[in-house]
Symmetry: C2
Subunit: 248 residues, 2 copies
Amino acid sequence: MTNTLIRITYDGTAYSGFQLQINAPTVQEALERALEVIYKQPVRVIGASRTDAGVHARGQAANYQAPFRIAAEKLPYALNTLLPPDIVVTEAQEVGEKFHARFDGRRKIYSYSIDLAAYPQVMKRSSSWHLLDRMDLKVLDEAARLFEGTHDFKPFRATGTVIADTTRTIYRVEPLELPEEQFMVIYFEGSGFLYRMVRLITGSLVRAGKGLVTLNEIKAALAGINPAAIGPTAPAHGLCLEKVFYEL
Amino acid sequence: MTNTLIRITYDGTAYSGFQLQINAPTVQEALERALEVIYKQPVRVIGASRTDAGVHARGQAANYQAPFRIAAEKLPYALNTLLPPDIVVTEAQEVGEKFHARFDGRRKIYSYSIDLAAYPQVMKRSSSWHLLDRMDLKVLDEAARLFEGTHDFKPFRATGTVIADTTRTIYRVEPLELPEEQFMVIYFEGSGFLYRMVRLITGSLVRAGKGLVTLNEIKAALAGINPAAIGPTAPAHGLCLEKVFYEL
C-alpha cells in the first residue's frame, strides 16, 4: 500500500459537502469513484476537512492507501480526466504510511467572501455572500481582531455538536477589502476550527460592521456570557477552504 | 412612451446569447418577460451588443420604450425580483426618445480572461479559458499592441458575415497579468467590434504567446495577406462585455 496525499479544489455548489453520504452527491464519493476506476478496486478517501454542503475548496487535502504504486506526478492528470469539471486534483505525493489527512492537519486557512456591490456580481454569486446593507469596515476589522489568539470557541460552534476540547488558536482573522472590486475576503488562519465556527464568526463580524452588535458584546460572547452576539451563521457558499498545512 | 436605458450584468453560461431566438433561452427573452410582468404588456428590448452563446456581461446596455413611466431608480430592484439570479439589472435611466442602445454606442470595453494555472481554477472555469501551454507574455503583449489604432479588421471577423465598413478603431488591447492569481485578463477598448473579432484576435495573441506565429505574421494577417495567423476563435466563455459608452 502506498499512502498518498492529494490536494483538491472544488466548486461545492453541486455537492452535499465533502464527506460521503447516502443518497447525496459528495466530493469524497466523486473522488472514490475516480480512484476505483484507476486502481480497479474500492479505495477509501480520508478528507482533511468535512466542508458543509455548498462550501468550496481551493486547497482541500485528503489521503488514501493506494493498492499499488502509480507515479505521483501522473495522478492529478489521471484523476482529472475521470472527475467532473467542478472537482480538480492539483497535486499528489507519497507520504508515510501513518499519515492521516484529518488528524495530522497542523494549520488551516479558510476564506469568507462578501460581495459589497449594490447589486450582486453575477459571476461571483455562487462563491460570495451578497450584502445589501452598508458596513463600517473599520469596525468589522476591529471585531475580527478579537477572535485572534487562543480562546475557548465553544460559543462559536454549531449547537448540537459534542466535542471534548473546544479550545482553538486562531493566528489571524484578516478582512481584506478590495474596493475596486466592491468585494471583501476575510481570511481565517488557525490550528483548527470547530463545526461552523468560521461561518458563525463571520456572522458576528458582519453584524458588528452593520453596527448591530458592539465590540464589547462580541467580547462577552466569546467569553460565553452573551450568546445574542453570536452569528447568525453566514451562508455556506461564501466559505472556501484555502489550504491545509502538514509537517511532512 | 418613456425611452429607458438599462445596464445589465449576466452569466452567459445558460443562454444562447443576448439576442432573441426561437426555441433557445436568451438574455433578451428573460428581460422582456420581466418587463412584461411590470408593464403588463409586451415590451421590446434593444441590446447594445449581441454577445454570443456563453459570453458574459458586466456592463451590457439596452433600451426599451416603456408604455408608462416608472421612476428609474425603482426599476433595477423591480426587475431583479423577476429575473433569474444569473441576470441582474444594475442601473436604469430615462433617455431621449431617439436613443438607440446599439446605434448610439460610442465605445465598448470587452475583457478576455485566461486561466494560467497548471490545473483549472474551478471557480473561474465558466468565465475563463484555461490554457495548458506556457506562453511568453512579453511577446503576447507586443502582439496585442499591433491591433491598436484604426485598421480594416476584415480578416478578423467571422467568415460568412457581410458588412459594408469593416474599419474599426481600437484604443487599447491591454493584457493585464495577475501573477498571484495565475490569471490574465486582456482588455479590448474600441469604437466597435466586428462579429467574433475579440475572440479571433485573442486566438492570434495566444498563438503568438506560444511562439506559433510571429509578430510579422500577425501584421501580415491584419493587412489581409496572411490568413494563417488569424485566430483560432477563443472560446466564448472567456469573453465578457465590460462596458458600453454613450454620449448622453
